[in-house]
């Protein structure tokens, strides 16, 4: 029993040292994916068909396939392409952390865009019309009228997504990144104590996620004007399949 605890203690110490790597991937891809998702959402309601098609294709591809395969294809697949391998991009693609961030940005942006799209359609029409009626357009309408409601509606699902992303960062370990899972897998390979090590790693992920969800819930509370749900009217022509 005592030996057991010492083992878990030393494993935890090793894992904690890998936390910054996990957080780095999460932060970079979280920010990039959100920005990209905003762009995709804008494209999804664009007037001309081209941006809409791009958005739909993007969502189709990146939401439709497992992230682990995407990471694999970006990391190993691009290395097979001569002009990447011998070009200047190789400096970036050589790095597994970069490849993970890239794959996660692409994949998660598709998910987040879908969330934003649903929320956008749920913003009450009347509020938007009131904005239009006093001469607001495009960006201002978005920032002053749509965004406040949209964020409030999207936040629970968005928090979900961020928490899923935290766990997805563990896939970086499959391409040699020594994040929490990477280190855990190394320890397992030498000790074969799968369950012990996974539990220690899980505790760390739980800690990160509990912190994140506490923060996001607090944000949700702050944004909620008077603790009662917002009324809303219409919603979306949802999820059109790629024709």
């Amino acid at each position: 029993m005592g030996e057991h605890l010492t083992f878990i203690g030393s494993v935890t110490a090793q894992l904690v040292r890998a936390v910054p790597v996990t957080l780095l991937i999460l932060a970079v891809s979280g920010v990039c994916a959100t920005v990209l998702a905003t762009g995709l959402t804008a494209m999804s309601v664009a007037r001309s068909p081209l941006p809409r098609l791009v958005q739909r294709t993007w969502t189709f591809l990146f939401r439709g396939t497992p992230l682990i395969l995407q990471i694999f294809m970006i990391y190993y697949g691009f290395a097979m392409v001569p002009w990447i391998r011998h070009g200047i991009l190789w400096a970036a693609f050589r790095d597994p952390v970069f490849c993970t961030c890239l794959a996660m940005t692409c994949c998660c942006s598709a998910y987040i865009a879908e969330i934003f799209r649903g929320a956008l359609a749920a913003v009450p029409r009347g509020e938007i019309e009131a904005g239009r009626a006093c001469g607001m357009t495009g960006f201002m309408l978005l920032r002053r009228v749509i965004a406040p409601s949209l964020i409030r509606i999207a936040l629970p699902s968005y928090s979900n997504e961020i928490i899923m992303m935290t766990k997805s960062t563990s896939l970086a370990s499959t391409i040699t990144v020594l994040d929490i899972t990477g280190v855990a897998q190394q320890v397992i390979a030498h000790s074969y104590r799968t369950l012990d090590v996974f539990c220690a790693a899980a505790a760390l992920y739980l800690l990160i996620n509990a912190t994140l969800s506490t923060l996001l819930t607090a944000l949700e509370r702050r944004l909620d004007v008077d603790r009662t749900p917002t009324p809303l009217a219409p919603i979306p022509p949802t999820l059109e399949p790629l024709s």
Binding site: F60, L61, R63, G64, T65, P66, L67, I68, L69, F72, M73, Y76, M80, Y111, E114, I115, R117, G118, A122, I153, A154, L155, P156, S157, S159, N160, E161, I163, M164, K167, S170, T181, T194, L195, F198, C199, A201, A202, Y205, L206, L207, I208, N209, A210, S213, T228, P229, T230, P231, L232, A233, P234, I235, P236, P237, T238, L239, E240, P241, L242
Partner: protein, 236 residues
């Protein structure tokens, strides 16, 4: 090229039958776990919004833990941890040792339990998006809570949550890949095994991606029509 075709064909050296079987298994696990997740998710959302204090707390803690812990661990614990515990208990107390639970069931249940935690959040957001007046109108007519939920909340919540549920479904499809640890050869493991055994990783991962895309397309078409239907009163 010829080589690739043989590998993907139905012949003695072709992986097509195994890959298709994997596909079906993936679909079955995802659908089962989605059903479990939706039912439990709705209950959890309801508990968080309307339950007594202790139930609200419990639902909250459930959500934080099941969302916070990597899915793989949930499966490992449920599939191996729990039976080991029962085994050691039955050893201690001299009971008849129960057999291991069927992998399919455990896999679906564990993915479903995780999915429920996510779906609870989605439904909570969705219910929050329904105008209060809608509930009040129902309550003023003497609807019970359950009826109010069934007749007023569910139909309206459907259109708000469908895109997010679509996300959850996609996630389930992919989470189902994790149940490979229970020994089930779903799509992901089949392609990993094929890639490892034939040393053609790109071929098989490419095929796996394509197959996932097929599953996705089928399901998002379903979601599309579901969305259209649930939204019929808001068009035009």
């Amino acid at each position: 090229m010829m080589d690739d075709l043989t590998l993907l064909g139905f012949g003695p050296d072709g992986w097509a039958p195994l890959l298709l079987k994997g596909c079906l298994l993936t679909l079955a696990v995802s659908a089962t776990s989605m059903a479990i997740g939706t039912v439990l998710g709705v209950l959890l959302a309801w508990a968080r919004l309307k339950g007594p204090r202790w139930l609200r707390r419990t639902a909250l803690v459930y959500g934080v833990i099941l969302r916070g812990v990597p899915e793989l661990l949930v499966i490992l614990l449920l599939y191996f941890g729990l039976p080991s515990l029962i085994l050691s208990l039955s050893d201690t107390f001299g009971w008849e040792a129960p057999g291991l639970p069927p992998p399919f069931l455990v896999g679906s249940v564990s993915v479903g339990l995780v999915s429920a935690a996510y779906q609870a959040e989605i439904f909570r957001g969705g219910i929050g998006a329904i105008p209060r007046g809608q509930f009040e109108a129902a309550r003023a007519m003497g609807f019970s809570d359950l009826m109010c939920f069934h007749r007023i909340v569910l139909p309206q919540v459907a259109r708000v949550v469908l895109p997010a549920l679509g996300n959850a479904w996609q996630f389930n499809l992919k989470d189902s890949a994790l149940i490979a640890v229970t020994g089930l050869s779903e799509l992901m493991r089949t392609s990993l095994v094929a890639a490892g055994s034939t040393r053609h990783p790109f071929l098989f991962f490419g095929v796996a991606m394509a197959l996932y895309l097929v599953l996705t397309t089928l399901s998002s078409t379903a979601f599309h029509y579901g969305g259209r239907y649930s939204n019929r009163w808001d068009r035009g």
